[in-house]
Symmetry: D2
Subunit: 454 residues, 4 copies
């Protein structure tokens, strides 16, 4: 018996390949499925089932493609929201994976259709592990506001019951195998640990340490941004996800002139670090660092947007495009060959933007309007006194309502400077004159013990 956990960076997603030595199941695969195929091959196993815990919202699933490529069946629950599937398991149903027994558990709350799967090494023994999808993460649960933000508390209570009725009875020694780790947009406050067990979770996970009412209240009060691409993900995942259109090397590298002609009024995503963007960038381009591409690329553009990429180096083009494709954004029409350096030496127009260190901002606090673009929970946990808040993803639509004056300097901050970089580029597009990225963000601010307001 073998198990491999395969992580998708940027979206903090975990898929699992589990095999009894001959037959394998892949749980919650993403769209680019090569890594799972290779993993099964390296384990000497044949993929028999593609198992889904729920219809993912934050990435395009690879169930349909993986099933087609491997000849496997898609296995999920009998709730209609799954929308597809070869084997639709009701709560309590079992199936064999070679010598392993897998038991399906309906655990709604994160979403109505959510399933967990208990894996038993022998039919009569306790569960060896439980695949919890977004029901239980390490230290917390999945968010419960997706179906209807107004009913987040109610759904949290439902999730509480799912956990306590279906999962709690399993053995304390069962490994907990969730679909996400810290950094995912499907929850907040995940514990940073590599493996855990049900007994361990019982000790510190808020779904166990709080009572039902308190848990529902706390979850109901959570204010998490809902990325706009979630809707597209839900739609395509109804059918088992999308086939890939991307192949390494397939994004055209365009010379400066072709790029400049093409990108015109299209979206230009600049994947360099914030300092590089500050030191020079194309007018109207969006600063979205490489690691943030699979989230923020979907806040700015959507599946229909033609996108042009500016990178630090050509080798980043594939990474950026792959990140985008994982959230269904496939319309990348080209990247600047040679990276920003090629643009620089062409003599074409270059704009710069400002930076400011936390200490400088503190010393000149009066001279600046401060905009904090983290999410509401992060802002609530401590911010620069007097800072205005809006989540960076909401800036395009809500920016105009903010109490900020275009002709006065603005310092934009987030946790370390990446989201602030996107915020800076959005304010520049909105016509602000002097916009500065607070280098190092609140992490640096707090490392310097500068004053914080809560």
């Amino acid at each position: 018996m073998k198990m491999l956990r395969i992580e998708t960076p940027g979206v903090a997603h975990y898929a699992y390949v589990i095999t009894d030595g001959a037959e394998a199941m892949v749980v919650d695969p993403r769209r680019d499925v090569e890594e799972y195929l290779n993993a099964a091959r390296s384990l000497g196993a044949r993929i028999r089932c593609v198992v889904e815990t729920h219809r993912q919202e934050d990435f395009v699933m690879g169930s349909a493609r993986l099933a087609r490529e491997s000849g496997a069946s898609i296995v999920n629950g009998d709730h209609e929201l799954f929308g597809h599937g070869d084997v639709r398991l009701p709560d309590g149903a079992r199936f064999q994976l070679g010598g392993l027994t897998v038991r399906a558990l309906h655990t709604p709350g994160h979403t109505p259709e959510s399933m967990s799967y208990a894996v038993h090494t022998d039919d009569s023994g306790p569960a060896w592990a439980v695949l919890t999808g977004d029901a239980v993460f390490f230290g917390t649960t999945g968010r419960t506001d997706l179906a209807d933000a107004e009913r987040a508390g109610e759904n949290a209570a439902l999730l509480y019951d799912s956990v306590h009725d279906k999962l709690a009875p399993l053995a304390d020694t069962a490994l907990v195998l969730p679909a996400h780790g810290p950094g995912s947009v499907c929850g907040s406050g995940m514990a940073d640990r590599p493996y855990s067990t049900l007994g361990e979770e019982r000790r510190y996970n808020e779904v166990f340490t709080l009572d039902r009412g308190e848990f529902a209240r706390r979850k109901g009060a959570e204010r998490l941004p809902r990325p706009p691409y979630f809707r597209h993900m839900e739609r395509v995942n109804l059918g088992g996800g999308l086939e890939p259109v991307l192949r390494p090397g397939s994004v055209p590298l365009l010379d400066v002139s072709t790029f400049a002609t093409g990108c015109g009024d299209k979206l230009v995503y600049d994947s360099r670090e914030p300092e590089g963007f500050a030191g020079g960038h194309l007018a109207s381009s969006y600063s979205i660092w490489l690691g943030g591409m699979p989230v923020f690329g979907g806040w700015i553009g959507d599946e229909h947007s033609p996108i042009y990429l500016v990178t630090d180096r050509d080798a980043d083009v594939d990474t950026a495009a792959l990140h985008l494709s994982r959230i269904g954004i496939d319309n990348v029409q080209g990247a600047l060959a040679g990276g920003f350096g090629a643009w620089r030496k062409s003599g074409r127009a270059i704009e710069t933007s400002g930076v400011i260190t936390p200490r400088e901002l503190h010393e000149q606090r009066e001279a600046f309007q401060v905009l904090d673009v983290r999410d509401a929970d992060e802002f609530a946990s401590g911010h620069i006194p007097g800072a205005v808040h809006t989540y960076v993803g909401h800036l395009p639509e809500r920016g105009a309502e903010l109490p900020l004056v275009r002709r006065r300097p603005v310092a934009v901050t987030c946790s370390v400077g990446h989201r602030a970089g996107l915020g800076v580029s959005l304010l520049l597009r909105a016509g602000f004159d002097d916009v500065r990225n607070v280098l190092g963000g609140m992490t640096a601010w707090q490392a310097l013990d500068l004053p914080v307001e809560r």
Copy 2:
């Protein structure tokens, strides 16, 4: 029979692996010899000789190590300046490499000991190829000022004779296999082509198209910088080069605090692109872009200097250290783990520097002192009117003599912005207040048809 040309980026160096199918020779290997060993292996051949055309000045040779690892003999000429070697060939001597015949030709001029090697597929036939070292490049020859800059013209005449007496008699169809391509500091004005023949060179190479006197005059008038690490290279190459001290992954990645403590008054090389450096950097660090490391790393530090690296990302650390090790700079004591981003979020002091576009500089020309840091030939071929000139490598020692005022803004330019970045960091260290990198340099300036002075 097979031949592979193996390029060393940054120093534009070509080594060759040539085999008759069973026995191979490697010509002019660099210090990290794995690529040659693998090449011979992929060709199914055993390395019998490590052949040297001359004692290289611009990189550490790998002759001794490659010979040791492969059991091969080191073959070079009988001139004492080679300093080592198992087989010391006089002019005209031959040796067999399996079914191939190799003929040694003494072709001094670039350096006194320089050898060329004609390769014959059959003993009685014309040369199939000639390995020319730094004697003949595509379109030009090696520089002739290294032994004694005062006698560059005299050496050029000697080189002219070497070429005409020893190489010209070979077949027009002989492939010319030089040790360097465009971008090398061992010559200037190389033609940009992948392969050439002696007949082809006869048609357009200045050593053939000019007469002896004119050639000697032109070479004698060339003013090429002589990097300070050349002396160290010559010394270590006397003994066949150096063993490597570097292994991928062996440069310690230091957390911010350890890095900050350690780097103190040591050299900090920042390998990011100029815009990133402008947007934020450590005080007193040197801006040396990744591709420029194997040249400019040796203008700032030497083989004794403890060096600390700041990169864009951890994956660049090995590249930077490898580049430095190729010019004998092995004392890299650590790199900032997590790249500049880690420094940013620590709250530690960050400095910024300025940039300016060519058009802006043109429009505000009066407000700026302009410093051009390209080499003398590049400067002579066209520069911004009124620019002051010094080669970037000479800035540390000659900067103080420049007619530049510290309190007035300076715009620093080169060809595309990389060397100017180093120039900017040097002026900042020297106490200048406002230093700007002219983005895109003279390439952008000329693309915009802005006025040029010659």
Copy 3:
């Protein structure tokens, strides 16, 4: 300007990527085009043209796919046999590739439509190189019997004229860049060298060293096998080749039981070395070593045959399938997971076959019938006295006519033992009782100075 030669092993095919630094052409690409796309990318160039020298017969072209993926145009000649193409050049036409000039030369003889292309670095200068397709190889030319074996001599005369009229006038210094090297089935007797020039070829290539009549006679007398897959290649290449259906990892690895059920009366190709096959194999399987797959896989099966693979290890499956796909054989339905070792331990039936060393055969010559399965020219150049001859590819259809007795031992030989391995497996299928592979074949036989008949 840069050039990369990209080799396809097994079919000894050379494609070229040539660029002036910004625009690239790819000449004669194979079906799996990723390597060309990556090469162009590494050279910082954009592919503008996919150039075809002729409609290849020995592999599936990638013109159509490469053009589609890169946005390039397909460029070839105006002869109708090309069957497709965006730009159809008449003899003598020129086109620009950035700063390079390319001149089209109609050079029929190998096939009626064959084109060569002279590449000039400047418009008025001599050719820097000439892409000769299958017109001129190193030391010889392409075969001239493909269109009509009866008219091979006539076509050879035509090819002779093409070479002397169109190519000979180019500069002696021009690099000759052919589409194949030694080992290709598109010619015989290629010289083993990595690079050559027109002047060099003039010295030793039979198309220059023989007179027209003698050349035509010699070529007319050549007896080269014509692989059956050539017809399929010609058909698909009429439209610019095929899209790939293969992706690394996509061949299903089947457990023993599934494999055994599936392979039934299908073709089973065993890619292990001859000794492994002799030591144990599946009944009725074909011994086709890995490197021989892209030729002999197409002698046994065709584009419609369902194929099952037995390998030494799983990592060979992709290689074998890729080799097959390059000759249009895409119907690989599965490979034995775990290689032959998995079959061995299942307890299923295993057959063995015999081997014999040359010395043993020599000593027991009387006891054996000897079958030599090399091609006619190889056989003519020297064989074991009394050996029967037929080309291995012709064994399935002509085997029954051979003067061999099924109940008497047969020793099968080729050059080193690979094709003999296939011959052994064919005779076993044909019901022979005792079949031995002469280990090391004629290479070993001759190394031992055993008697040879001519």
Copy 4:
């Protein structure tokens, strides 16, 4: 917090890299430490401790080298048998790894110095995991006969107490992180599962399911071979292991003639599969399949033996040499370039050996002497009726005492055919006339339901 388990194939060894996010410990590293360095780097962590559970016997440790390369301290127990170490922890001692607390537990029994280490995410909470070395494996414990085979039962009782006194009190939810998995020679009967917990082990591990007396009796009766290289491992591991002498590509590939001259009376290891060896091999060579190299290479040769390698292909040479180096066998003097195929075509002497299928053996049982070379426990669990037994590793010294007649056919069997291959080559060297490998071994025999004796 992150954890990576790094497996060493062939010896079924698990090392662990555990980090709180900034500081890492590496537990029980092998000699070639690059993978650990890279792992720590990928986790963004600095290696602070190299932790040893005990002085390993079955592979060369990399503690000293890893400590030197990373600047880490070596941490182990205060028992004198460790022989070295920077920090020597007594039972119960704690240390901090950033935010993690590690508690040392002396758990003798497998060896006297054996330590376990409990890892706590917070100081006051239960153990999150326990590193058990060879004390506890999944389903069983380490063998207890190494120090003194006569006292195996006594040591088993000691180990029982260690487990019950020191480990049993830890939380049921603690992950069990052992140093070996199934296939290791440090124990027998490990359960095949990827992860387990203390509670899970409590349910089925024999150290928990048996009582003290029964456990001691069972372990005391185990008869496991003790590889001769264990002594060398223990000696070098006293000092923290060995520096590597191997670099990929550093084993000389020798042409046939050099190989033949060199190997003379030296050990020749043939790494091909048994069928390939049967089909042809060098006289007197040893058949040791690639995966068995890190065990059986050390039964035949020792750290002083000059070794020559014959492989299936050149790419296997590095793998074979790396496997050998991991058990301290560094004197690999060369490998046959081009694999066995090169030998085959040289015409040099080739020997063959026999194979037989289980069904054939069953049908001709009377004609064969049967030798079973598995270990005593495997033999006891079921063998071919009338088979003679000796462990393959003992054949060289005990072979002469076996009741086997040289002039009569012998069928050699093991579990699948690999060890039998080595057995075949040993009997051939001992002068047996007709030796056959039972293809598929007892696995195939039992799959066919052939009669078994117990």
